[in-house]
Symmetry: C2
Subunit: 582 residues, 2 copies
C-alpha cells in the first residue's frame, strides 16, 4: 500500500526535520496537476472490461463476491491483481468515501464530492473481470453459497441473488445508539457522506431559523445550541470544525445571533480522546475550554426528544438540555446483516464476526471478513500448548532442549504474536530468556523443559492479546493483505510461506495478518492538530496540522480526489466556507 | 453593471480579433486568485450590519421589502447604495443562483455550490441596513401594506407578517406544465439548483439501475432513454450536456450499456431554438443529428406516466415512448402568489404583473415588480395622442409645426420607445420624415399637422410594441435600473430627469427603463457554442465556446464563485466529470 509506506517514510523524516512537512504539501500540490493529467490520458487507453455480465461457466474461474466498498472492500479491490477471478462487488454506494474527511465536509471545509471516488473508476484500470451492482446485501446463505441483495435505486426496489465461490464480507458497522430512546429520530450521525451533508444543511438552517423575526430569546438560544455526543476523535473533530465555521465564517454573516451560539460536547467517561496519549487529551480539553466549547465529561445521555437532551450525571442526577442540533458519535454497533449471519453460523453474543488470523470466518474456509464488521479471534498459546510442545520436541524425548526450541521460535512468534508482545513488555531479549526464567539459574545451553515447565513459562503470554481498533487504517491494511493473498494464491498453494501448522501437517499457506499501527491524528480546530505517531511520539500544534494536510492528501484514493481536496483547502483558505443552504 | 459593460467592450473586441477571447479566459483565471484574496481580506474589516432587527420607528426611514433573491432581486440589492432605506429581503433561498449554469450542474461540469452565493455575503459589504429572512411570501396585502410569509426551515413552518412602505416583487416564475397530466409527478424541471442536483443523481441512478443483473434488454433500454421536452435554450443545452457526459465520461465506466443509451428531444414547434437566428437553429439541428440525439419536432406531449410519455404528432397520431428519465423545460408560468395578487388588484387574465415603464405595478405607486413575474405594459401612443398633440402645440393653434414638434421629439421617443423602433424598421432618419410622409411632398420646414393628420402619421407606430423576453439579462437590468432609481430618489424628486408628462404637469422623475439586448448563447456540447450578438452577428463553434467561458466567468456575482466556476472547469478538463451517486 503506497500511501502507508509513504506515511512511514514521512513520519521518520518528520522526526529529523519538521519543516519538511510544509515542503511536502507544496510538492503534493504542484505535482498533482501533471501526474493527474498523465493518468487521465493513460486511462482512456486501458482495456474495457465487462461490467455487466461476468464471464461465467467456464468451470475454472472462481467467483469472488465482495460486499461493501468502504475502506476494507476498496483496499481489497484496489490491490487485487490476480486475473483468474471473476469479481462481483455489491454495495449500496457506487463510490468509496474517504471517511476521515467527513468532519471537514460537515462545515464545507472540503466538499462532499471531493472525498468520494466512483468504485467503477477504481476497478476499471485493471485487467480484471469486475462487475459492480449498486445494491444492499440483505442476507448471506453460507450453505448454498449465495447472497441475497436488494437494489434501492429510485422508487422501485429490485431483489436478486448472487452465487459465490469465495465471499469477502466488508460491510462495515453501523452507529451504536445503545438503544437510547429518541437518538435514531432526532440525532444526526456522522458515518456516511449524506450524514455530513445533512449536518451542513442543518447548521445553516438553524442559523437562518434563529434569524427569523418574532422569535423569543430563549428559542433563539435553543436553536443555536449545538450538542455533540461522544468525545472520540470524530466527535471532537466535528466540534472543532463547527467552532471554526462559526467563528471564522458565520460570524460575518450572522453577527446579531453570535452571542447565543453555543457548542456542547458530552462524554460519558472522565476525559475526551481516551485512546490518545494523556498529553493530547489534556491539550484538547484545555483548547476547548479556551475556545468556549462547553465540555461535559461524566455525562451520559439517557433520552433525546425533539428539543431536549436528558443526561445522567455521575451523581445520578438527571438534567435536561435544550438543543437545536445534536450529532451522535459514540462508537459503532453490528449491522443487522452481520447479526443474522452470526446467528446462522453459531457465532452469537459477539460484537463482530470472528475470523482467524488469515481473516477467514471461523469454520468457513471460503468466507473472509475484513474491516469493522470483523474481529480477529487470535488463537491462544495455552490452547495449543501440547501441540506446540510435541511439534517442537523432535526427538520425542519428552523434554525440549534450547536447540529444539530455537528451531520453532520464529513460527511460534508469528503464529502467536502475543508472545512477542509479552517479551517486549517484560523487556526480554528472546524466548530463551523466558525458558531460563521458568527454570531458574542454569546455563543457557543446558536448559531442558518438561511439558509442565513449558506451560508455566508461557502461562502469562495470552494476557497480551488485544482486539484491533475499528479504524480505517486497520480496515485498509486488512483489505490490502487479503488482496495480496489472493494475488499469490496459486504460488502459495504450491510453496506455503506461513508458519508451521502446530496442530496439523506442513505450513500455513500465508503469513498471518499483522497490523502495523502508523499513528493517529486528532484535529482540534484553528489549524491545531494533535498527532500520536508510532513509538508514543506526540506532536501538537500547527506543524502537526501540516503533517495532517500532507498525510491526508497523500492517502487519497486517486489523483482526482487528491487534487479536489487540495483545491478545496485552497478555496477555503482564500474565500472561507460557503453558507448557502444547498 | 460591471459585467455587462465588460461584455459590450468584449464583444466589440471580439469582432476585431477572435483570439482575444482565449487570452481573456487566461487573464480571468490568473487574476482571480490575487484579487479574490484582496477582497477576502477587506471583507473582514467591513462594518457589521444589523441583520435581525432593522432600526425601526424613527419615523423618517422608509422600509423597503424585497421578495425573492433571483436575478432581479439580487441585482437590485447588489446595486442599491442609498443608506436611507431599511431593507428587508424575504426569500425561500438564502442564496443567489447563477441559473445559466444550471444545465452544467446537471452533469457535474460545474458543481452546484459553485454557482451560488449567499445573499448575506452580497449585502453585508455595504453600509446598508439589510435584514434577510429565509421564508416564502404567501400573500401580499396592498391595502394594509403588509406581506405574509412562511418559513420552511426544518420541520416546523412558522408564519409571520412584515409591513412595508415600498415593496419590490421579484419572485420570478414557475415552470409551465400547460396542465399536461403526469408532468408534475414524473418529470424533472430545471429551474432551481435542487432540480439540477436531482437530475444528476437520477442520471447516475439510471446507469446503475441498467447495470443490475436479471434485467430484460427492453427494460434496460427504457431505463437509459433520456427524454428532454422543450427545444428552448435550456432544453437544448441540457441535452447537449448529457450527451457530453455520456460520451466523454460514462462510456468509460458503463461500457456494456452504452449501446442502449438514447437521448430524445421533443419540441412542439417545427424547429428548436426558435428565438435564435435561423443559421443557429440549422447548425444545432445538424449537430444533434450527427451526435445521435433524436430530435422530434412537431411533437406535443399530451400525457406522462411513470414509464411512458404520450405525444401527439402533427397528423393527430398519438404515440407512446417508454422512457427512464424526462426533463421538462417548455417555458414559464405564473406563481400562485402573483396570481392571487393580480386578482386582488384587478389584473386578471394576464401572464404576469403589469407595470408601467418605471417598473411600478399599475395603480400602486409603492409597489415595484421586476424580472419574470412582471411585464412592462408599454403605453400606446394612440392612447395618449390627444395629450401629446396638445402638449406639443404650445401656441394652441390647433396645428403642429415642425419647430414645435422638434421640441418634444426626444420626450416622445423616450416615453414611447416603439416610435424609434418603427422609424428604424421603416428606415427613416427622424420623426419629421414620418410627418412628411403623412403630408405628402411639401417643404420640410413648412409642414403643419392637424390632430387628424398627426394621428394618421403615428397610427402604425404601436404595432412595434414587444414584450421583453423572460431572461436573466432582462431581470438583471431591471433590478439594477430600479436600484439606481432608489439611489437617486431624493435628487430626482428635486430635479426630475425623465421625459415630459404628456397627460400631466412637469416631468417624470426618472428616465423610463430601457432594455439593452447584449446577445445570447446556446451551448451545443462538444465545446461548440452558438452566440447571437447584438446587430444580428452570429458566431458558432469553438471560439464562441471560449467567448461563453469568458462571459460566464466575468458575469459571476462574486470573485469567489468566479474562482469556483473556473476551477470546476479546470477540474473537469483534467479529470472528467464525477459519477458518484451523491
Amino acid at each position: 500500500m503506497r500511501s502507508f509506506t509513504f506515511y512511514e517514510r514521512f513520519s521518520r523524516a518528520f522526526h529529523e526535520n519538521s519543516s519538511l512537512s510544509k515542503l511536502l504539501v507544496v510538492l503534493t500540490v504542484s505535482g498533482g496537476g501533471i501526474a493527474a493529467y498523465a493518468e487521465a490520458n493513460s486511462e482512456s487507453q486501458s482495456p474495457r472490461v465487462d461490467l455487466i455480465n461476468g464471464s461465467e461457466g467456464d468451470g475454472k474461474r472462481k467467483k469472488v463476491v465482495v460486499l461493501g466498498t468502504g475502506w476494507a472492500g476498496t483496499s481489497f479491490l484496489k490491490n487485487l491483481k490476480n486475473p483468474s477471478y471473476d469479481v462481483q462487488v455489491i454495495s449500496p454506494r457506487n463510490y468509496f468515501a474517504f471517511t476521515p474527511l467527513l468532519p471537514s465536509v460537515t462545515c464545507g471545509t472540503v466538499e462532499a464530492r471531493s472525498v468520494v471516488e466512483p468504485i467503477r473508476r477504481i476497478v476499471r484500470k485493471k485487467n480484471l473481470n469486475v462487475l459492480f451492482s449498486e445494491a444492499e446485501c440483505i442476507g448471506i446463505d453460507a450453505k448454498n453459497k449465495k447472497v441475497y441483495c436488494r437494489s434501492n435505486l429510485g422508487n422501485n426496489k429490485e431483489e436478486f441473488s448472487v452465487d459465490y465461490d469465495v465471499l469477502v464480507i466488508s460491510v462495515g458497522a453501523r452507529v451504536n445508539t445503545f438503544n437510547t430512546p429518541g437518538v435514531e429520530e432526532h440525532c444526526h450521525f456522522l458515518k456516511e457522506v449524506e450524514d455530513a451533508q445533512r449536518i451542513r444543511e442543518t447548521v445553516i438552517e438553524n442559523f437562518e431559523k434563529a434569524s427569523l423575526p418574532n422569535l423569543s430569546d430563549e428559542e433563539r438560544k435553543r436553536i443555536l445550541h449545538f450538542v455533540v455526543v461522544g468525545g472520540g476523535p470524530t466527535g471532537v473533530e466535528f466540534a472543532a470544525e463547527l467552532h471554526d465555521f462559526v467563528t471564522e465564517d458565520l460570524v460575518k454573516l450572522y453577527p446579531k445571533v453570535m452571542d447565543v451560539v453555543k457548542i456542547t460536547l458530552l462524554e460519558a467517561a472522565d476525559h475526551i480522546l481516551n485512546m490518545f496519549d494523556k498529553r493530547i487529551t489534556a491539550f484538547a480539553e484545555e483548547k476547548f475550554h479556551r475556545d468556549g466549547i462547553d465540555l461535559k465529561t461524566g455525562s451520559m445521555v439517557v433520552k433525546v426528544s425533539d428539543k431536549e437532551i436528558s443526561t445522567k450525571e455521575r451523581n445520578g442526577e438527571i438534567s435536561s438540555i435544550p438543543y437545536g442540533m445534536a450529532v451522535w458519535s459514540t462508537g459503532i454497533g453490528t449491522r443487522p446483516l452481520i447479526m443474522d449471519f452470526m446467528k446462522q453460523i453459531g457465532q452469537t453474543n459477539r460484537r463482530a464476526l470472528a475470523t482467524d488470523e488469515w481473516l477467514r470466518v471461523e469454520g468457513h474456509d471460503n468466507i473472509y471478513a475484513v474491516g469493522d464488521c470483523a474481529t480477529i479471534n487470535q488463537r491462544k498459546v495455552m490452547e495449543d500448548i501440547a501441540a506446540i510442545f510435541s511439534k517442537a520436541d523432535k526427538d520425542k524425548s519428552g523434554t525440549l532442549t534450547v536447540k529444539e526450541f530455537k528451531e520453532v521460535i520464529d513460527d511460534i512468534c508469528e503464529r502467536y504474536p502475543q508472545v512477542e508482545l509479552y517479551l517486549k513488555n517484560k523487556k526480554m531479549k528472546d524466548i530463551v530468556e523466558l525458558m531460563k526464567e521458568s527454570k531458574g539459574d542454569v546455563e543457557k545451553e543446558s536448559i531442558e523443559l518438561s511439558i509442565e515447565e513449558f506451560k508455566k513459562a508461557l502461562s502469562q503470554v495470552d494476557s497480551q492479546m488485544k482486539n484491533l481498533p475499528a479504524t480505517a487504517q486497520v480496515a485498509a491494511q486488512q483489505g490490502s493483505y487479503l488482496a495480496d493473498c489472493f494475488n499469490r494464491m496459486e504460488e502459495c498453494e504450491r510453496n506455503p510461506e506461513g508458519p508451521l501448522r502446530f496442530r496439523g501437517e506442513g505450513r500455513h499457506r500465508f503469513h498471518a495478518f499483522r497490523y502495523k499501527h502508523l499513528g493517529q491524528f486528532a484535529p482540534l480546530g484553528g489549524e491545531q492538530t494533535a498527532a500520536q505517531l508510532p513509538g508514543d511520539w506526540v506532536s501538537i500544534g500547527r506543524s502537526s496540522q501540516w503533517l495532517w494536510y500532507s498525510v491526508y492528501a497523500s492517502k487519497q484514493v486517486s489523483w482526482r480526489t487528491r487534487a479536489l481536496v487540495i483545491t478545496d483547502w485552497t478555496r477555503r483558505y482564500i474565500f472561507g466556507r460557503d453558507s448557502s443552504g444547498i
